[in-house]
């Protein structure tokens, strides 16, 4: 469990970007609550779900001049001590020049057991500060469950189950839950 223990050692985004620059390429660090946190290697199951999501989301996004990406970091003007890497980001307009974006349209987090309290708590509150964000999806790994958090619903959670479909009006399409869990068995 990642706990932000040392309050006084808190880093802001500018300090974090200087600090993370010389780290080895294969290391992925998120800045959470002012603390750099090393991301653990994900499971194959996690990556299967991410791949399914990206295929479907990118198909919906492309005709609208948008794209679905893994591994982009999110920055918000409202909170200077967060730079999380969601599993999938949908971004519109020209391709971002760096790996940092501050105008995501859709964000998806696939839950891992070890990051559950961060992904369902702190990070979510951070994402909700972004004016461009329309939809946040929390995708469970060990059950067919997707939580839909929408800006136009006041960021109130709506759970979607196995036989249902997630509506994505901002992309003019839907995400069938069965497709997200394709080739995943419980």
């Amino acid at each position: 469990m990642a706990l932000a223990v040392k309050r006084d050692a808190r880093m802001n985004v500018a300090a974090y970007r200087r600090w993370v620059e010389p780290r080895p390429d294969e290391e992925r660090w998120e800045l959470l609550d002012g603390v750099p946190v090393l991301m653990a290697p994900p499971s194959a199951r996690h990556q299967r779900i991410v791949t399914n999501l990206i295929k479907r989301l990118d198909n919906l996004a492309e005709p609208r001049g948008c794209g679905a990406y893994p591994g982009l970091a999110i920055l918000s003007d409202a909170m200077d001590d967060y730079a999380p890497y969601p599993d999938v980001v949908v971004h519109c307009g020209p391709m971002p020049p760096t790996g940092f974006v501050d105008d995501p349209l859709v964000i998806v987090e696939v839950l891992s057991p070890g990051t559950m309290t961060n992904d369902r708590g702190h990070k979510l509150a951070f994402y909700a500060t972004m004016p461009s964000l329309q939809t946040l999806l929390i995708v469970y790994q060990n059950e067919a469950r997707i939580e839909v958090w929408r800006c136009d619903a006041g960021w109130i959670m709506q759970p979607v189950g196995a036989d249902e479909v997630v509506d994505l009006p901002e992309l003019g399409g839907t995400l069938p839950v069965a497709e997200i869990y394709d080739r995943v068995t419980f």
């Binding site: 309290t117 979510l124 509150a125």
Partner: protein
Amino acid sequence: MALAVKRDAGMNVPAFRLWVEGRPEHERWELLDGEPVLMAPPRERHQRIVMNLAGRLDALAEPRGCRAMPGLAILSDAMDDFAPIPDVVVRCGPPLPDGYATDPLLVAEVLSPSTVSLDRGRKFDFYRTVPSLKVLLIVYSDETRVELWRREAEDWSGTALSLDGTVALPELDGAVPVRDIYRGLTS
């Protein structure tokens, strides 16, 4: 969504207890991440679930010299800027001189739509630092879903239960059927 915005104004538990002493009796305040947060009056549906759960848990706890109660604040030695008030606490041992418990066996949070990310995030991280705590229940109020989180060695593992499931509580030699937690509610 409650955000702790003012980092530098952080209050610790002693300062909070002094401060809260002066508040009117009917106000319920939690200390979350160094900030006092006023608890909103809960919905009837939420309270119905709390009563169902507290009743079941108390019936299991009493023969073991333990009890289930609403409204106690929880303190942890590991984090001095939190004093949350979970919906139900099970604790054993002699009665407390005040409303602050450091030795809960079980804590249950019944989710409200506006507190979901706080209850499953920061509060959850806090409860995990309380050494006596063995079981954490997260009870959804807008769907029939209970997450049973249990301390196992150094880590916590969670199981999601639906209407036909049962919350097994070996530490109280018993179990609570999920159906009983939602008794009287049709969704």
